[in-house]
């Protein structure tokens, strides 16, 4: 059965103890986010996700969305749940207060997003897409467009969607065909067809604001000729209320492996009225604002599913009775022992647990950097935080979503055959998690972004806010007797990451395919180092608390156990990745194409 309780204890640990929320609340922009307010927010979000959003997950998967006469119907209960969510002000949690947002920091927002994604990944898409679209509008839109649309989008009264992909162009948007022609009224008319438009049409909100990529008549060819347009489903009238129906038509719903309750639409724009967002031909820039924001959010989707899969698997492993412990019966009073006694089941549960914990810690590290990049006191601090966010965005996206899928699959494994049938709801996690590795740029593209763009940018400057603190941490903790083994393993993995970085930088400069062949392994290696750093720091805090006898609920002992398992049983993957990277591209590229 799908069970989910937001892991509030761990969330608070990561937010307050590991990353120091006080660093963020010290910024005037976030002065409101005091610990008691943040705890109140997390508590209520936990209740809401568990009681309102989680119960719709399995039924929504079964029912799916329906297209009826051009109108998309979300599964039963979604409209009501979205209304509770919107009326509670949750869509606007981290929104700009100038447009009705609550202005809470991103590091709090990401924890709430994790809860929503864990409870119901399909549901999370609707507010998620709205955030991304609102963000692009906030950064690139004209004051008039913002005044007309942004408040409703921030508050979640209107939803957002992003229309990029066409049937023949996905990753390569330069091939785009959708056209925009200026009309006489300072607006544009758009014509063309888009596919894979998440939340492109649905019945949760009274209006949907599409951000559409299209070419102007005088556009240069390829990627440099793409502009972004705001195209509402209903054109707001003078009073600001949704008015005349625009030429935005949902012609079909994609039939998907999972994520069934999220409406993935084919949309045709027929002479649709739109307004330019940003400068002509600069649509890719605007799109990347939205993409970067979304990519962190998609990473959190992977974390959410991993966390939900872990909880469901752990609950099952404690109640499913099969066989006896290898060391002799643990529960002779029962017909068999619960399967959690078996080392292989333990291996799976621990793997799921520590990966979720480590990703949560990494995710909030990056989310704090997002906050600092906006509101830190000095330009230098803001720049450094921005560098770090840029570097880590592809890592969070690809690492978390790869792990989300892998952990969901382990969850099914814990259930055995009962995981493969629908009744327990855990096969849904696998199907739902799979998409996150693909959309907002496949994970292969994320890896290329890391080695091709982020790593070489400004002579490796972006790597500094990642490498320097880790190096300093290792240097100062090496002598620590209790922490020693964890630090030693981190040091070894970090050394391999440095070597791999050097090799890719050198070889990639001469031959881009060398970097391309190493990209995915490199991203995971970097992810493992980030996770190890986070868990080793967590272990340090845990040890201090344990030494002070301050562990009434057993949380710190468990945290220490997590860090040790990660170091012993997960981090060694770093060596394998390093060896693979070191071998270079030769064996990957050697096979003649005809032999495939």
């Amino acid at each position: 059965m799908q069970v989910y309780e937001a892991p509030l204890r761990d969330m608070r640990f990561v937010l307050h103890e590991l990353h120091g929320l006080d660093r963020i609340t010290a910024l005037p922009a976030y002065a409101e986010a005091t610990p008691d307010v943040v705890d109140g927010v997390l508590d209520e979000a936990a209740r809401l996700t568990k009681e309102v959003i989680l119960p719709l997950n399995a039924p929504g998967d079964l029912e799916g969305c329906r297209l009826e006469n051009g109108v998309v119907r979300t599964p039963e209960g979604f409209r009501e749940a979205y209304a509770v969510f919107r009326d509670g002000g949750w869509p606007s949690l981290a929104g700009d207060p100038a447009f009705g947002g609550q202005g809470l920091p991103e590091c709090v927002n990401k924890l709430v997003e994790e809860m929503i994604c864990a409870a119901n990944l399909s549901f999370s898409l609707y507010p998620g897409l709205t955030h991304g679209a609102a963000k692009a509008l906030e950064v690139h839109g004209s004051p008039e467009l913002k005044a007309r649309f942004l408040r409703n989008m921030t508050e979640g009264t209107w939803a957002g969607a992003m229309a990029l992909t066409e049937a023949h162009c996905g990753t390569d948007l330069g091939l785009m065909r959708t056209r925009a022609v200026p009309d006489d009224a300072g607006a544009y008319r758009l014509s063309g067809s888009k596919i894979f438009i998440s939340a492109g049409e649905h019945d949760l909100t009274e209006n949907i604001v599409h951000l559409v990529l299209a070419r102007l008549p005088d556009a240069p060819p390829g990627i440099k000729g793409i502009s972004m347009f705001l195209v509402p489903k209903l054109i707001p009238g003078e009073d600001g209320r949704p008015g005349r129906r625009n030429g935005v038509i949902c012609t079909g719903l994609e039939h998907k492996m999972g994520l069934k309750a999220s409406a993935t639409c084919q949309i045709t724009y027929e002479d649709a009225v739109g307004w330019l967002v940003g400068a002509p031909h600069k649509g890719m820039q605007a799109m990347f604002t939205m993409m970067n924001e979304e990519r962190l959010g998609v990473g959190i989707q992977g974390l959410g599913v991993a966390s939900a899969a872990y909880q469901s698997a752990a609950a099952y492993a404690k109640e499913r009775l099969q066989g006896r412990a290898l060391s002799g019966a643990k529960r002779p009073d029962l017909a068999a022992d619960p399967i959690i006694v078996h080392p292989d089941v333990r291996r799976m549960l621990m793997t799921m647990r520590v990966n979720a914990e480590a990703c949560r810690a990494v995710g909030i590290w990056v989310a704090q950097a997002v906050d600092l990049s906006k509101h830190a006191g000095t330009p230098a601090e803001r720049k450094e935080a921005e560098d770090f966010t840029a570097l880590m965005t592809p890592v969070v996206k690809a690492l978390f979503t790869d792990l989300g899928y892998e952990m969901a699959s382990l969850g099914v494994q814990v259930y055995g055959g009962h995981g493969y049938i629908r009744d327990h709801g855990v096969e849904q996690f696998v199907r739902d998690a799979r998409i996150a590795m693909l959309y907002e740029g496949t994970n292969g593209i994320q890896a290329l972004d890391l080695v091709g763009r982020k790593m070489p940018a400004h002579m490796g400057r972006l790597l500094r806010p990642f490498f320097h603190p880790i190096a300093a941490f290792i240097e100062t903790r090496k002598g620590d007797a209790a922490l020693g083994p964890l630090v030693l393993a981190l040091e070894r993995a970090f050394g391999m990451l440095q070597l791999a970085t050097g090799q890719i930088a050198t070889a990639g400069l001469k031959d881009a395919e060398e970097a391309g062949a190493a990209a995915t392994d490199y991203l995971r290696l970097m992810g493992l180092v980030a996770m190890s750093y986070m868990l080793t720091r967590s272990a340090e805090i845990a040890q201090e608390k344990l030494a002070a006898g301050d562990d009434a609920d057993g949380f710190y002992a468990a945290k220490l156990a997590s860090a040790r398992f990660f170091t012993d049983r997960v981090l060694p993957q770093a060596t394998a990745l390093f060896l693979a990277i070191k071998s270079g591209k030769a064996s990957t590229m050697a096979m003649p194409e005809a032999a495939f």
Partner: protein, 249 residues
């Protein structure tokens, strides 16, 4: 009209409680606490009355330790206007709570008190009735419906035989039953505002109340463990077994 809503901090209803090894009570160390669910219903009802224009202010009051402020904040986050925290450590029995609340009522002069019919920790179901008696006010207990006028409240009560509607002259005490309403989720803006809403801190002495317990807990024990069942082959065998165990004769 001002509505006063007493709220109690209790063990969260999801928690499986454990008795302390020495039998002196329930183990509350590191246990999740929350507002008593019946009190949530009371806060919700007061807020609905205010939203409908029948009341102008909702004041939540809690008698308890320092952490009871969290429970008050929960009420404020739901939408209550201000809080009163009467700070007491240790056990406070229903009569002492009722006396304290009577003192609060004399100071605040509410038009109506809405409170949970009982708290899910000790299930006493006494405080509301005692408060009404101490104040000499009417009481409408186990309410499933409340219609509030300017000088009178109509309360539909859940009684053994069905439901009963009583009219109470105001001020009065109403205690809530489960079916009165479904409490709202606190909205994000209200959670953020809650922190800035005023909470007065008082002590039992401010109301001249001695909270020393009058009752003595002899021991606290877990309910007996369930005995294993057995399948019977026929109705005759079932009846035989029931006779054997003395359930029927």
């Amino acid at each position: 009209m001002k509505i006063l809503v007493p709220v109690k901090r209790v063990v969260d209803y999801n928690v499986k409680i454990r008795v302390k090894p020495d039998g002196s009570g329930v183990d509350l160390a590191n246990v999740k606490m929350a507002m008593n669910p019946f009190d949530e219903i009371a806060v919700e009802e007061a807020l609905r009355q205010k939203e409908a224009g029948a009341a102008t202010e909702v004041v939540v009051v809690s008698v308890g330790p320092a952490q009871a402020v969290e429970t008050l904040r929960t009420g404020l986050a739901m939408g209550a206007d201000r809080g009163i925290h009467v700070k007491v450590d240790g056990t406070v029995e229903p009569l002492a709570v009722a006396k304290i609340l009577a003192g609060v009522c004399r100071a605040e002069e509410p038009g109506l008190v809405i409170m949970g019919k009982q708290a899910i920790d000790d299930d006493c179901n006494q405080t509301g009735q005692m408060l009404a008696a101490l104040m000499g006010w009417g009481q409408g207990t186990f309410a499933s419906k409340l219609v509030l006028g300017a000088a009178e409240a109509q309360v539909t009560r859940e009684v053994d035989g069905g439901s009963q509607t009583v009219a109470l002259a105001l001020p009065a005490v109403v205690t809530t039953d489960l079916r009165l309403n479904e409490p709202r989720y606190a909205s994000l803006p209200n959670i953020m505002k809650a922190k800035k809403k005023p909470v007065d801190v008082k002590e039992p002495g401010d109301f001249g109340v001695d909270v020393a317990p009058r009752l003595k807990v002899l021991k606290t024990v877990e309910p007996p463990a369930r005995q294993g069942g057995a399948k019977v082959g026929s109705v005759g065998e079932l009846v035989g077994k029931l006779r054997e165990t003395g359930v029927i004769r």
